[in-house]
Each structure stands twice: as structure tokens, then as C-alpha cells.
């Protein structure tokens, strides 16, 4: 939970940055999964109509 929600300023900026780095890695993995996923979808013929 972000410090904003807790309503306190105890967490240091460095700690927030550390948490942000973990989240960023996760989002990067999501993007990579979408990329690979669509190529795999492309390999499977007839998934799309038309």
C-alpha cells in the first residue's frame, strides 16, 4: 500500500523507489508476455475471424 493510502510519511523515498523497481519488473514481464503471447497466437491458425 502506498504511503498516500496509509496517510503517513514514514516510508523513505529510497524504500518507495525499491518497491517501485519491483513493480516495474512485474509490468515489464507483463509486456513481454503480451508480446510473446501474440506471436504464439499468430502461430495458431484460424483464431481470428475473417
Amino acid at each position: 500500500m502506498a504511503p498516500a493510502e496509509r496517510g503517513d510519511g514514514d516510508e523513505q523515498v529510497d524504500e518507495r523507489r525499491k518497491r517501485a523497481r519491483r513493480n516495474a519488473l512485474l509490468l515489464g514481464l507483463v509486456a513481454a508476455a503480451v508480446y510473446v503471447g501474440y506471436i504464439l497466437l499468430g502461430l495458431v491458425k484460424g483464431i481470428f475471424p475473417g
Binding site: 504511503p3 498516500a4 523515498v13 523507489r17 517501485a20 513493480n23 516495474a24 509486456a31 503480451v34 499468430g42
Partner: protein, 529 residues
């Protein structure tokens, strides 16, 4: 750098000498510097894309072939679109995000400053790669910005260059988006809950998620083009058992959200500007947030309305027609809420408000013609005509670009510390508004009368409206030089000194810091009650 003489002025570091000055910008991790880099780059690219548009409009000045060969004309339309979308408009809003999001949420900087630097510096190289294709055998890509196979696979050496450029541009956008999401989710000042954030942050948060979902799909599509061309696959080749229509589905699964990736940050800016100059809080804040999220969700399930004419089952046509029309509901919520914000407000019409109002009127024209295009049976008539060109230019130019101008004038005093020239600003607005309508309104009539898009020559009955459109385009481009002059004047500090809060009705943390904003803001987080 430690041995370099540094002049510290208002917290800004001004290294002496050319090389240290270059390295300061190349290696900067400051969100304000990177915001400035994005904004400057996008302004330059606006003129590069504009120059290509001028070639298009010069060729279409009158029937017959005047200046360029048909193949070169197709290169112009293709690269104009790619440059404007990926190198002008998207980086412009990324610039606003970099400059403003940390200040709006009370954070000292973006969460990942080095990633931020890399996101920006990929852009000039990627765009350079794209523009260099003009000098290759066969020239630049000429199959339209959609890069449809099989056409795009039949054209010269530009394909791998443009695909690599698209990969890099996508990577840059994805990294910037990741940075924006983690900044907003982790770096807000104590007390700033999500539902207290300024609307600009909300629209960018939602846009960033859209980018992460949509951009890898484009990257996937162009990678498949690359392997079809060079590695013997047949994803999109009917001869090898593939399907070219599948490319269109995959491309538009990216392409439609892309439209909203461009317009949502503009919505955010308009939601900041209209309340400030109406001296009233934004009407229906929560509804605005939910409407933005609804638009983003719907944008992911409407893609095949771009390709009704390729043929699809009746159920598919109905689904994509109705889901597209549904977008009018949350968009209507936003338009009516902006109008309700102004209702009984004490309105003043400084340049940012003029651009916001221009946005409101003219984006809505683009929205309405979008509804017309959504009607599947009618789309069979409109498809690939100038009506489509008129529609999306209304959304992107007096829509997205005017949104960016509104934001630039609104925040220029905070960025530069001086008030821009208000009189010139109004001239910029009125000239832009007159010429943008002269350019694009006649294109509706041309399209309805049957003029196809992406052609360098046309039948004589289209001559008059084309000439009007060309005059408009030349005038619109020239009017933008005024904006450059206004910005240069403000950056050089020529003008009245700006107060910390130059706009009486403006709300937000950015107005609590001095103008110009110091290099580092909110090292100690502000507490929001």
C-alpha cells in the same frame, strides 16, 4: 563533472562549455530536464511531420501530377503518419507527464530516473532510423502507417529499418509507461489518495496501462512481418497457409487503443485547464475517472471497426459496431462534465482556455464523424475515403494537439518563470483554429463525394475543396511558427515575471512551488489533508 565550473541558478545546474552542456542533457536523470527534452523533441518532429504534410498538400493543390511521383507520395503519407503519431504527439504527452506528474503528486522525481533517461534517448535514434529510410534504395516505407502485408513486403530495403524503428519506439513508450505507473502507485505524497489525484495523473495512469497492453502487440505484429520477409515464415502469406487479414486484426488490436493513448492525456490536460479558468472544481470528478477507465476498456474491444470491408460474420459486424458506439457514452460523460464545470463559473478566456474550448468543440466534431464511421453498413461507403482522413485529423489535431497547446500555455509560466505573450498566444489560437478547419472540414465533403485517401491525383470535380484544404494546411503550418516564437521568448525570460500561482482559479501542488520550478521539488513530501 566534478572539475567543471557549475553555475547554480534557482537550483538548475548550468555547466560551462559545450561538451559539459551536451553531457548534462545526455546524462540527466531529472524529470524536469527529461520533460523538456521530450517536449523539445516533439516540437521539432511536429515540424518534420508537418513538412511531409506540406508535400502531400502541395501535390494535391490541383489535379494532375505536380511535384512528386506516386511512390514518393505514398512514402510521404506513411512517414508523415508514423512521425506524427510516434515522434510528435506521443512524446509531447510523455513530456507533460515527466514535467508534471511528480509535481502534481508531490514526489521528488520519477520513481526510476535512469530508465526515464533511456526511454527518452531511444526516441531520437529510432526516429532517425525511420527518416533515414528515405535515402535507401526504394525509399521509405510506402504502405501506409498500418504497414499492411503483402504490400509492405514488396517494397525495397526500408522494411527492416522501419520495423526496428517501431520496436525501439514501442520499447521507449513501454518503459516510460512502466515508470509512470510505478511513480503514481508508489511515490504519491502522504494523504494523496488515488481519488484525490489531479485528473491529468489519472488519465496518464490509465493511458500507461493501455500502452503496456497495446504496444507489445504492435511489436509482435511487426516481428511477424520481419520473420515472414527474412526467415521463411508464412504468418501473413496466403501462399504458405497464412492469412493477411490476421495482420489487420493484430495491428488494429494495437491501433485502436493507440488512438486513446493519444487522446486520453489530452483529456487530462483539458480537465486541469477548464476548472482553472472557470474558477470551479471539476464537475463529477469520480465520474470522469470511471469514464476514462471505461473508454480505455472499450478501446480494447472495438478494433475490427477499422476493417468492416474485409468481410466478417454478421455477428462480428454487429459486435464491433455496437461496442464502438458504446464509447460515445463515457466520452459524452466527459464532454458534458467539462460543460457543466463551466456552467455558472466565472469564465475568463486566456490562451489555455481558448485552446481547451477549441478542443471541446472540434474534438466533438471528430467524435461525431467517428460515430458515423462506426455504423457498419455506412462504413462500406466511407471506408478509405477522405471522410476518414477528416475524421481522424479532427480527433488528432484540434483534439490531441490543441490539448497539448492548452497544457503548454497553462504550464509555461511554471516551466519558464515568465508569462508568455498573451496577445501572440491568442493570435496563435485563432489562426490555428481558422486554418485547421479550412484544412480538414472540406475533406468531409471530398470523402462523401467519393474521393479515396492515399492518392496523389484525383478527378477534377474534387479540385476546389482540395485547393481550400491545401491553403488551410499551409496556413496552419505557418501559424505554428508563432508558437515556436512564443516559447522561445518565454524560455529566454522575456516577459512579465510569473507568480507562483499565475492563474487565479488554478488548484494543485505544482502552484505551491516557485516559478520557475526549482530543479528539485518536494524533497520533503508535502502532506495533503
Amino acid at each position: 563533472m566534478s572539475t567543471t565550473a557549475i553555475d547554480v541558478h534557482a537550483g538548475h545546474h548550468h555547466p560551462k562549455g559545450v561538451w559539459p552542456w551536451i553531457m548534462r542533457w545526455v546524462t540527466t536523470t531529472n524529470h524536469k530536464d527529461i520533460g523538456t527534452l521530450y517536449l523539445t523533441f516533439s516540437l521539432v518532429m511536429l515540424f518534420v511531420g508537418g513538412a511531409l504534410a506540406w508535400v502531400i498538400r502541395a501535390e494535391l493543390w490541383q489535379p494532375g501530377m505536380q511535384f512528386v511521383q506516386p511512390h514518393v507520395f505514398n512514402q510521404m503519407t506513411t512517414v508523415h503518419a508514423l512521425v506524427m503519431v510516434f515522434a510528435a504527439i506521443m512524446p509531447a504527452f510523455a513530456g507533460f507527464a515527466n514535467w508534471m506528474i511528480p509535481m502534481l503528486i508531490g514526489a521528488p522525481d520519477m520513481a526510476l530516473p535512469r530508465l526515464n533517461n533511456w526511454s527518452f534517448w531511444l526516441l531520437p535514434f529510432a526516429t532517425g532510423l525511420l527518416i533515414l529510410t528515405f535515402f535507401l534504395p526504394g525509399g521509405a516505407p510506402a504502405a501506409g502507417w498500418t504497414l499492411y502485408p503483402p504490400l509492405v513486403l514488396q517494397q525495397g530495403a526500408s522494411l527492416p529499418f522501419s520495423i526496428f524503428a517501431v520496436h525501439l519506439l514501442g520499447l521507449s513508450s513501454i518503459m516510460a509507461s512502466i515508470n509512470i505507473i510505478v511513480t503514481i502507485m508508489n511515490m504519491r505524497a502522504p494523504g494523496m489518495s488515488l481519488m484525490k489525484m489531479p485528473m491529468f495523473c489519472w488519465t496518464w495512469l490509465i493511458t500507461a496501462y493501455l500502452i503496456i497492453i497495446a504496444m507489445p502487440v504492435l511489436a509482435g505484429a511487426v516481428t511477424m512481418l520481419l520473420t515472414d520477409q527474412f526467415f521463411g515464415t508464412s504468418f501473413f502469406s496466403a501462399a504458405g497457409g497464412g492469412d493477411p487479414v490476421m495482420y489487420q486484426h493484430i495491428f488494429w488490436f494495437f491501433g485502436h487503443p493507440e488512438v486513446y493513448i493519444i487522446i486520453l492525456p489530452a483529456f487530462g490536460i483539458i480537465s486541469q485547464v477548464i476548472p482553472a479558468f472557470s474558477r470551479k472544481p471539476l464537475f463529477g470528478y469520480a465520474a470522469m475517472v470511471y469514464a476514462t477507465a471505461a473508454i480505455a476498456f472499450l478501446s480494447l474491444i472495438v478494433w475490427a471497426h477499422h476493417m468492416f470491408t474485409v468481410g466478417m460474420p454478421l455477428g462480428g459486424q454487429l459486435f464491433f459496431m455496437l461496442s464502438t458506439m458504446l464509447i460515445a457514452i463515457p466520452t459524452g460523460v466527459k464532454v458534458f462534465n467539462w460543460t457543466a464545470t463551466m456552467w455558472r463559473g466565472s469564465l475568463t478566456f486566456e490562451t489555455p482556455m481558448l485552446f481547451a474550448l477549441g478542443f471541446l468543440f472540434m474534438f466533438t466534431i471528430g467524435g461525431f464523424s467517428g460515430l458515423m464511421l462506426a455504423i457498419a453498413p455506412a462504413d462500406f461507403q466511407y471506408h478509405d475515403s477522405y471522410f476518414v482522413v477528416a475524421h481522424f485529423h479532427y480527433v488528432l489535431v484540434p483534439g490531441a494537439l490543441f490539448g497539448a497547446f492548452a497544457g503548454a500555455y497553462y504550464w509555461l509560466p511554471k516551466w519558464t518563470g515568465v508569462m508568455y505573450d498573451e496577445k501572440l498566444g491568442r493570435w496563435h489560437f485563432w489562426l490555428s483554429t481558422i486554418f485547421v478547419n479550412l484544412t480538414f472540414f472540406p475533406q468531409h465533403f471530398l470523402g462523401l463525394a467519393g474521393m479515396p485517401r492515399r492518392i496523389p491525383d484525383y478527378a477534377v470535380q474534387f479540385a476546389d475543396f482540395n485547393m481550400m484544404s491545401s491553403i488551410g494546411a499551409f496556413g496552419f503550418g505557418a501559424a505554428q511558427l508563432l508558437f515556436v516564437w512564443i516559447v522561445i521568448k518565454a524560455v529566454r525570460g522575456k516577459g512579465e515575471k510569473a507568480a507562483d500561482k499565475p492563474w487565479e482559479g488554478a488548484e494543485g501542488l505544482e502552484w505551491t512551488v516557485p516559478s520557475p520550478a526549482p530543479h528539485h521539488t518536494f524533497d520533503t513530501p508535502p502532506v495533503i489533508k
